[in-house]
Amino acid sequence: MGELSGAEDPLYRAVARLAQRGPFVEVLAEAATGLSVRFDGHTTSFQSPARLRGAVFRAWTGSGWAEVSVSGLDTDSLRFAEGAIERALAHRPARESPPGVSSTTRLEKSTPTPRPMREMGEEELGSLARDVFSWTNGIPDIRETQVQLSWRENERLYLNSAAARCYQAICRVRGAVLPIAMENGRVESGRFIHGGVGGREILDALTQESSRRAAEDARNLLRAKEPPAGKLTVLLAPSVTGYFAHESLGHGAEADQFVRDRSYLKPILGQQVGPEILTIVDNGAYPGAWSEIYCDDEGHPAQRTVLVDHGRFIGALHDRDTAAALGALPTGNSRRSDFLSRSFVRMTNTYVEPGDSTFEELVKEARYGVMLESGTGGIEDPQGGQIQLKARMGHLIENGQVTDVVSSMALSGRVLEFLASIRGVSGREDFVLDASSCGKGRTDLLPNSAGGPYLLATAVVGRA
């Protein structure tokens, strides 16, 4: 154990004492270390994660869960939290155990890597950032390139009164190259971002080739056409396919929306919603993916959950409460942004499984349409069953060929109609997982990953 060493005994004793006053108590303690550098040719800045440690206690009372967070693991802080939980239990004594399955998992795992980021100090990280920056030097129209390299090791220790003990130290590493092109006052940007759980090997994906390709994207956008508008054949590039998986079946399958009766998917669980070629998965146990976790914040191990199996919608994501309410088992998807935030049912790595078409076959099949590339985000409407996806750029598809570059676009539509329109999914050679973040509502951001291969469908597209 790293930053949390020394905290386990007092946390364990607090849980043991509180367990004598109520049927179930748990605590999650958190600390982080890391370093990031940002270099753009004008400025270099370094930032370490805050020296912020704390814990959240949760206990089952007679009227539901009571939670107290403290930003400190010292004796006074823990005593304050313990006292507050004691008062909640005294005020609303619990007669029964909480609903659902209490974790009994015992796990201790740290990110395995042959090249730990901890060995890379400011000097070395800064030097690498300058090297990456230099790869776009001399490219016409490129006015500036921003390089961002970061790593963050997040430690979480979970203990509960059912004897679970989960310690995980996860190191997330991310590199980003953002070239900016300018011509006659018009500004456009390209980007290459790669991240995952691991060590320095993650940054090996930043190459001269990937950097220069991002710079060429920025240059091409200076002369891009406006995208076509209306209902069109669309070919989603892997990053946009990922946003589709995340926003449509991902958010829609978070079972807290089922319990709230605000998911359009709830009534169609078990039904065919798409073609045979479509399989969508959430997988917190995906080795090395950006949102890999070893267990969730209720102590349940991360797992692979199939949401759509060959077109049939079969699965949902659960925490203990939603699993209990809907007669299911927890799927390892209860997550907190940090020890000060509440837990929600959240995705991890959500993606479309590879299909059996080639990219060339999909372009030929599309014949006329638009390819959406470089996804920048999306938003879902679990109640109305609509999604919005954004792409920073794209290409026209004309007569079965990829032709001119077009500027940024938004895709909008009803998920079930979009699913029904899917006509092809490309193979494993195109599969990519991104390194992004997701909120629940406007807040509670978490590391999230989404991805897939190329996907051919029909949707409304417009300028954005």
Partner: protein, 469 residues
């Protein structure tokens, strides 16, 4: 919670122990947060107090004609904890560089921020009771409604004491409250009707206003019903009326991306006098609007907030600076150094990140377009966009756009049927000579409305690109 005695404020306690080299700055926060989360109309979970006290230390070290800046945040106020945070900041500063030979920090002498109303006294004194009363009023406002209900919601009240001090002698602080309201309103018709529709409210305010909930809930329910009934828009370029609720998702990002000292360093800031908007457009940055979440007596470096004109009748006037960027260009800070801008959440954990330069509340001066009905009449044929799912403006290119969550068709100068789905978008702010939302402003309404962080009337833009079936 009572306000701390001056000597107890977080930043001052740290500053009193700093024995490091100058210059330095400490930003401290003492925060209590209270939350009520709703599942349907019922309380799902009550949280609080969530207590957090912390500080961010920033040091500035000149070397080779540039300044190295280091920052570290911590919640450890012990002498050892402060030493460790300072050591981290010093290490970062040794390897960092910013293109300014030195930095001039505010002294706190001369002009002060004065009083800006940013603290809800009732909420400050009785946070949980106030929050309970607000949620009760919210639940009551939905009672008896047969076609709509609360789908989900949360109210989060944050009570903060901000304190700032630096090695130039500045010692200042203020208390403030913020209320974040997130509500989903569901409308459901008869079995023969369309599927339920939902309208989302995301509101940030400095105070609780339970007395206004009755009227607001009635409006939200009407919007939810209109979402339920809405159909797709036409495809094409057309007149679009854009109210402040939509401008709030666009203007701060695009003006923040181009009208700042950091944009000037990167040579993407417009030069003074450049014409980027229609003659009728005057855009300002105003950090002193009462009760606005971005308002405060001073910015996060301790410089008084002011009102600045960014675009004067369509022409570029001023750009915004914090202390760092002001130093680079040998000018003065405009009181525009804010923490938390990069994370998008200003009310929580501000001490974790160093300040960036950016806007406060963006305002658009009222025009002669008249009432909402007169703007619709002037549009003749087009749409009124009430809500975009996520307009995700690009701070560099100015492009924006997204899914229409709710709009209304304008036919023959009157509002007609509701629209749900499709997209609307374009470029909000372009380079000189290139068309954009700002240059295509045909009329600006005469009555302003506040939608955090924008104070503006609705505007008529002709044309914008709309895509539907």
């Amino acid at each position: 919670m009572s306000l701390s005695r001056p000597g107890d404020a977080a930043a001052f306690r740290v500053a009193d122990q700093l024995a490091g080299k100058e210059p330095w700055e400490v930003f401290g926060e003492r925060i209590r947060r209270y939350e009520i989360h709703l599942n349907g109309g019922k309380i799902e979970i009550t949280r609080g107090p969530i207590a957090l006290e912390g500080y961010g230390v920033r040091v500035f070290r000149s070397h080779d004609g540039v300044t190295g800046i280091g920052h570290q945040a911590s919640n450890d106020f012990s002498p050892e904890g402060i030493r460790e945070a300072l050591s981290d900041a010093e290490r970062g500063a040794r390897h960092a560089s910013f293109p300014s030979p030195d930095v001039v920090l505010p002294t706190g002498h001369g002009a002060t921020g004065g009083i800006v109303e940013v603290l809800d006294r009732g909420l400050w004194e009785y946070p949980m009771d106030s929050l309970d009363a607000f949620v009760s009023a919210l639940q009551t406002a939905f009672e008896g409604r047969k076609q709509s209900s609360l789908s989900f919601g949360s109210v989060r009240a944050t009570l903060s004491e901000t304190s700032i001090c630096n090695s130039s002698g500045l010692r200042t602080g203020y208390g403030h409250t913020t209320v974040d309201l997130e509500v989903g309103v569901k409308a459901f018709g008869g079995p023969e009707g369309p599927a339920p529709g939902e309208y989302w409210v995301n509101d940030s305010d400095r105070r609780l206003r339970p007395a206004e909930l009755g009227l607001r809930v009635t409006e939200w329910c009407r919007y939810a019903e209109d979402v339920r009934r809405g159909g797709p828009p036409p495809t094409g370029e057309m007149a679009v009326v854009v109210p402040p609720s939509v401008l709030a998702g666009i203007l701060p990002t695009v003006f923040g991306g181009r009208f700042t000292g950091s944009a000037r360093i990167r040579q993407v800031a417009p030069t003074s006098g450049t014409r980027l908007g229609a003659e009728i457009a005057t855009i300002r940055d105003d950090g002193r609007i009462p009760w606005a979440p971005m308002s405060s007596p001073v910015d996060d470096e301790g410089v008084p907030q002011r009102r600045r004109t960014l675009l004067d009748h369509g022409a570029v006037s001023e750009i915004l600076y914090d202390s760092l960027h002001a130093g680079t260009f040998r000018t003065n800070s405009t009181g525009s150094g804010f923490r938390g801008l990069s994370s998008g959440f200003r009310t929580w954990f501000r001490f974790l990140r160093p300040p960036l330069v950016g806007p406060s509340t963006i305002t658009l001066d009222p025009g002669e377009g008249g009432t909402d009905a007169e703007l619709v009449e002037a549009a003749r044929d087009g749409i009124w966009v009430q809500q975009i799912g996520w307009s995700s403006p690009d701070p560099l290119t100015g492009a924006f756009g997204g899914e229409i969550r709710l709009a209304y068709r304008i036919r023959n100068g009157k509002l007609a049927e509701s629209i749900r789905g499709g997209t609307v978008g374009g470029v909000a702010l372009a380079h000189e000579g290139s068309p954009s939302l700002m240059t295509r402003l045909e009329a600006i309404g005469s009555r302003v409305g506040f939608s955090e962080p924008v104070l503006s009337p609705p505007v008529l833009v002709r044309p914008l690109a709309v895509a539907g079936e």
